[in-house]
Symmetry: C2
Subunit: 150 residues, 2 copies
């Protein structure tokens, strides 16, 4: 159920980004708010970071996280070209889907990597599945904003 919701939100985001031209990515969602391209880069970075959280490997584009999660929009002089960001976005979700397919039901209830063994024993809900619940809601949150820009 959780993964179904994840995939359907990724699909909606895919469709939305694909419907926008490179020029449209440059507009602000609302006056003075984040640009669409910042949201694309932020979401790509947050999803890339799922890999180390779930022990699936390293981030593929760690610089993205540095520039588009740790920093607000317009703080970075050099935003990657739209076609590169679109490729990162696609690649991240292809790799994640491959990993998710090979995970067993039990794996999802193991602790994620940002919680200690001690804390996990007290708070067993801090598991890998919970990362997906949280990231899916983060994605929905930004999807709601992106449709305003459309």
């Amino acid at each position: 159920m959780v993964l179904d919701t994840w995939y359907s939100n990724v699909k909606r985001s895919d469709d939305l980004f694909n419907s926008l031209t490179d020029d449209q990515l440059q507009i602000e969602i609302a006056p003075g708010k984040n640009r669409v391209i910042y949201v694309l880069a932020n979401l790509a970075a947050v999803h890339d970071k799922i890999m180390p959280f779930l022990e699936l490997g390293d981030q593929m584009y760690p610089q993205l996280y540095e520039d588009f999660v740790n920093k607000p929009d317009k703080a970075v002089a050099e935003v990657p070209p739209a076609n590169e960001l679109r490729a990162y976005w696609k690649n991240i979700h292809t790799v994640l889907a491959k990993h998710f397919e090979s995970m067993q039901a039990d794996d999802w209830f193991q602790k994620h990597t940002s919680v200690t063994i001690e804390d996990f024993s007290k708070e067993p809900h801090r598991n890998k599945l919970n990362i997906i619940i949280s990231r899916t809601n983060h994605l929905s949150y930004h999807l709601g904003q992106l449709v305003i820009a459309e």
Copy 2:
């Protein structure tokens, strides 16, 4: 985990609506988009509708659903006063929380009321918990929009 995410999103929405004056509820999220008060009424209606979906009782404010889910913003001449909507919102979540507390783990994996027994046997993920996953994401989606209006 699913309920934790639900409650934390409801809390965020509560805080956000409480931070806005009645006048601020009247503004549009972005030029030409839904007004904040429409989103409040829409969310209240969708959450009220959780009750029949989960066999917890009837909707308390069925007119809300008719006016703010089945119809777009500005289609209804008479929007309830802000203080009434705030009271509905609060009441719906108080009643839902009371119901949720008395539900057992197994209850969440039973079918919800908008799926037939036959379909449920083929698609067992269409259960009550899935309603909460879906409504939590719907709430996140609109939360993302509401912070733009803030």
